[in-house]
Amino acid sequence: MRPFRYERTDDVAGAVALLSREPQGAFLGGGTNLVDLMRLDVARPDVLVDVRRLTSDRIEELPDGGVRIGAAVPNSDLAADPLIRTRYPLLSAALLSGASGQLRNLATTGGNLLQRTRCVYFQNVTTGCNKRQPGSGCSAIDGYHRELGILGISPACVATHPSDMAVAMVALEAVVHTLGPNGERSIPVAELHRLPGQDPEHDTVLEHGELITAIDLPPLPDGVRARYRKVRDRASYAFALVSVAAILDVADGMVRDVRIALGGVAHKPWRARIAEDALRGGPVSEERFRQAAEAELAEADPLPGNAFKVPLARNTIVRTLLDLAGPDLGGMAPPPASPDAPDPSGPDPNAAERGLDPNAPPAAAAGAAPPQDRTQPRHAAPPEEAEQPQEATRPQEATPPQDRAQPRHAAQPQDPGAAQPPNNPGAQPQGGPAIDPAIMDPEMESGPEPSGPPA
């Protein structure tokens, strides 16, 4: 860590003026990202201008029914705020799915938006990285890029923006207010972050010395349903491999409006406009959700190590929309339209422990899928079925898919072998049933069963 000066000013204008004179300086929010990067010698500011107590730390209602969030509001406070939990549970859920309680206490709303990529080469000064050191080459493209981008990438950089909060804000069509050397401006969050292009050293459109002062959330139309679903490598405390923030407005079986933002896939929170356009005005159906997701992802340009993100993103988009559309379509019970309770992806840490969808809405957790009751026998198979079939490798005699009333799970017309990723020779279906996972039903357990004594 290099020596640096620490400065505080009396007001926002003073901070902007000070930093504008310091080309190597930086604003300091909670420091949970910036200070880490300084320790690693990745960020080398010679002066830090502390803005944590400078911008507003309040959450206020706006006359139009929207909400204004001060840039200094801690992530924890924002997630817990009654106004946010009531009107924008999507945002609460996204925040609570990120980092850890300790980090969220320290992290600010402004800092969260401007946190930098988690690309491992960016964070290591001994390896080339165009974002850290323009012209030094991208080490990730031919290296480790499992967590990096598949959409809007460039030959110069494939990094992702790691924030969960920003993904929800893009879906909510939030607007950032800034004060810079050239005065105030307002920027939709969707336009705050850039694509990498040839100059990935710029994460955002902000100028040096431009301070985020507040973020406005416009009101959501009545009756819409929203959800944040984050898929990651462990049940908590990991960045998104793929996340989906979706807002769905359905009337009479038709998609009146829809907004979809994706996290973990691009250099910015990715607004899935192609998918939205494909869905808007049309009937609600699983097939159309799938087609819309595929249309959006047709633009994807994955690398060998992150090709799995394409099906993962597709499946997660479809599932999230199904859940929002409600049980009729095979989704989980929908979250309340504008509930008191936020989407529990974060607030219900036990969801993961129960083996339920960690982001499952409360209705599903409480009703449809009772948490494992350890006093109950857990295995549905009657005792006589516990007998082993003679040939365990025998394909299962499948109930024809069309027999199934009410498909509850996304029926994917796919080969069962497709459960094996193409470039993963280690994973071979062995003795697996010739049936798609997505069309399995509990009823199938009573289906035809090979029987006979062990040899």
Partner: protein, 697 residues
């Protein structure tokens, strides 16, 4: 001699617990030393080659810098045999990326760290070789650590049976590079003065550190004192002296009479503190249709550094676990331009049993037999390799007890048969085993005072396991006095020499010598004799266990896992783990449970998360922090149940204990992988089981 259990078997809270909870327990870095200087290393940015120039000018001229250590000005050390990674700043050779190539000593740790970034090195780089593939042709059979655990074994005609057996299985399994990642980093504080050398180290064995240090610097052991009171986890990475200890000593020598402190950063722990090397293992089994094994072949390859030969001995449990009339094991190793791997919780046995127990599950499927029944059918009567009887062996008991607790009876063996709201549910089982080891060479002193208090002195270590407490219970029973009368002191070379805390041998070794000392003390006191006014002191040496050559000494266990795999995303959750273990006498059920539960949790982490990703272009592990190297978080750990069978083993040691530190991690990953297969029908043979291997394409 066997000891009557009074305190042993009782639940006693850890004696070090209150201090730790209150935050007053002192770790090595927190030793209050007068006016310490701080050290920060410079690490190589090439994986192989020579240093041809070093520019320390701007670092040296930074205010607050005391000195920049490098290969030219560092004190010379002896090269300890077989410990080439301790050859720090002694030559211009670079043997792996991130090797220590210089160090800055400064008034504060911030100044040292900043100045280290100003040191410029010039290298002559040579092409490096850092990748392990199963198809390399430069493997060799490593030198065996002991006759008991040979690196090669041949019994019968394996090849002939493998080609003719009715059921044949030939599979390759791989395990990932795993890091110990104890919470407390590797830390050393050293003071070199006229009185000698005092070291505060976070270690699993102060005596071992003292021996290495005296050898390196040619010192009189009497002038070296090593202290290690509290240790915040180790898992094998603190058994030996690591490069950070040597670098601190070099620094301390250069600033005499000034203590020098150095704690590794988390990133540095990924190159300086050892790791479990990745393994590629091939299992070939020939069996009868009823599942009885006719031939079993297990070969395993791993890579070590160019500096030290370390083989991950995955074939070690192979000869113990199942009966096989024809048996072959082959342990192979190659060397790469990488940091030196080392023992990590259940070295060899843990990745080895992953492969063996997955293969057994595959065999059960092939034969259409319940996997528990398959294991019962292959239970050996005597140790398959040595031919010795087992001192006690309760694998079947563990499997059966576990089956009952887990409701295995009602399991539908059909894979991919349970889907609960989009989550595929499955269960799996695997066996655990570990050897009941006793290390020789420990000594202990017991002093009896006329007020009825007993002080036990031994240079043992408690790395956070509860050993301190359990050993106090052993001492109390050996002396026939209440626990409250015993004051056990450990972690200091001022006390009698002790073996290190490794191989789950702590209680077995230190307990045995304490029992010996207690026995001698009681003999000296005579029956009903009172303690003389000046007190009485006895020092004893650990006796050999005469049964060790007559019996095979092993612990066993059975692990059960329930998993849920998201049918669309491939996310894996493990809502339930059950481990049933037979590990001899359980000295303290509370601390033992914590050890077994911790081992299972680490096994879960190995199954689902842990993987150090090495970038072959650079030669370093790119995910070198805990944000990118994932270990299981609290939310990943569901219900973990631990149950120990009563097991009375008079042959292992006077206490009848077998050790519980490592057994718990053996088999967990296989139970989970087998459950994932049962849930999904997809057999994952390469750890970790991440969602990209299961996502629906």
């Amino acid at each position: 001699m066997t000891v009557t259990a009074r305190a042993m078997g009782e639940v006693i809270d850890r004696i070090d617990g209150p201090d730790k909870v209150r935050g007053v327990a002192r770790y090595a870095f927190e030793q209050p030393l007068d006016h310490p200087a701080y050290l920060y290393p410079v690490q190589s940015t090439i994986a192989r080659g020579r240093i041809i120039g070093i520019d320390c000018r701007s670092a040296s001229s930074t205010p607050g810098v005391l000195m920049v250590l490098n290969q030219y000005n560092a004190p010379r050390t002896n090269i300890p045999a077989g410990q080439g990674e301790l050859n720090i700043l002694q030559s211009d050779r670079v043997a792996f990326r991130n090797q220590f190539v210089a160090g800055v000593i400064a008034e504060t740790s911030e100044i040292a760290r900043h100045a280290a970034s100003l040191v410029r090195l010039e290298y002559q780089e040579e092409p490096h070789d850092v990748e392990l593939h199963g198809d390399r042709d430069d493997f060799w059979v490593p030198s065996a650590a002991s006759a008991q655990f040979p690196m090669e074994l041949d019994k019968g005609d394996v090849d002939a049976v493998l080609t003719s057996a009715p059921v044949r299985l030939d599979r390759v399994y791989t395990t990932a590079r795993q890091y110990h990642n104890p919470l407390e980093p590797h830390t050393t504080a050293a003071l070199w003065s006229e009185d000698g050398l005092t070291l505060y180290v976070s270690t699993q064995g102060v005596s071992g550190i003292r021996d290495v240090v005296t050898a390196l610097f040619g010192l009189d052991p009497g002038r070296v004192r090593v202290v290690s009171s509290n240790v915040g986890g180790a898992f094998g990475s603190k058994v030996h002296a690591n490069p950070d200890v040597v670098l601190t000593l070099l620094a301390a020598r250069m600033v005499p009479n000034r203590p020098v402190k150095f704690a590794l950063t988390r990133q540095q722990m990924f190159s300086q503190a050892g790791y479990r090397p990745p393994t590629v293992q091939r299992l070939q089994i020939g069996a009868e249709r009823d599942g009885r094994i006719m031939a079993f072949s297990h070969s395993s390859t791993s890579a070590t550094s160019k500096l030290v030969e370390y083989a991950e001995h995955c074939t070690r449990p192979t000869a113990t676990i199942y009966a096989a009339p024809n048996l072959r094991t082959r342990q192979l190793v190659t060397s790469l331009d990488v940091p030196t791997p080392c023992i990590m919780r259940a070295p060899g046995d843990c990745p080895g049993m992953f492969a063996i127990e997955c293969a057994m599950d595959e065999l059960a499927v092939e034969c259409g037999i319940d996997p528990i029944e398959l294991r019962i059918r292959n239970e050996p009567e005597i140790h398959p390799a040595s031919g010795l009887p087992f001192s006690s062996r309760n694998l079947i008991g563990c499997l059966q007890e576990g089956a009952q607790r887990f409701d295995w009876e009602h399991r539908d063996p059909k894979p991919r048969a349970r889907n609960e709201l989009g989550w595929l549910v499955g269960t799996g089982v695997a066996a655990s085993t570990y050897h009941a080891l006793q290390q020789s060479g420990s000594m202990a002193t017991i002093r009896a005072d006329p007020d009825g208090r007993y002080t036990v002195l031994i240079a043992a270590a408690d790395m956070g396991t509860g050993t301190w407490t359990a050993l106090t219970q052993v001492a109390a029973d050996a002396l026939g006095v209440p626990v409250g009368s015993v004051d056990l002191r450990i972690g200091d070379t001022a006390y009698p020499n002790a073996s290190s805390a490794g191989g789950s041998s702590g209680i077995a070794s230190w307990g045995a010598v304490i029992c010996e000392a207690a026995g001698q003390l009681r003999d000296r006191l005579g029956r009903g004799g009172s303690i003389p006014r000046q007190g009485l002191e006895v020092t004893a040496r650990m006796p050999e266990n005469r049964y060790a050559s007559q019996y095979a000494l092993h612990s066993f266990g059975a692990q059960f896992a329930e998993v849920r795999v998201n049918a669309e995303t491939g996310e894996v959750r493990v809502p339930r783990l059950l481990g049933v273990f037979a590990a001899g006498r359980i000295v303290n059920p509370k601390t033992a449970r914590s050890q077994l539960l911790g081992g299972m949790t680490m096994g879960l982490s190995m199954a689902l998360h842990e993987e150090g990703v090495l970038d072959p272009r650079f030669g370093h592990v790119v995910n070198q922090d805990l944000a990118t190297y994932h270990v299981s978080s609290n939310a990943d750990v569901g219900d973990v149940e631990v149950h120990c069978l009563d097991e009375d083993d008079p042959y292992v040691n006077p206490m009848g204990t077998k050790g519980v530190g490592e057994l718990g991690i053996v088999g967990t990953a296989a139970a989970i992988a087998n459950a994932v297969y049962h849930a999904t029908g997809v057999r994952i043979r390469d750890l970790p089981i991440t969602l990209d291997k299961l996502v629906a394409w």
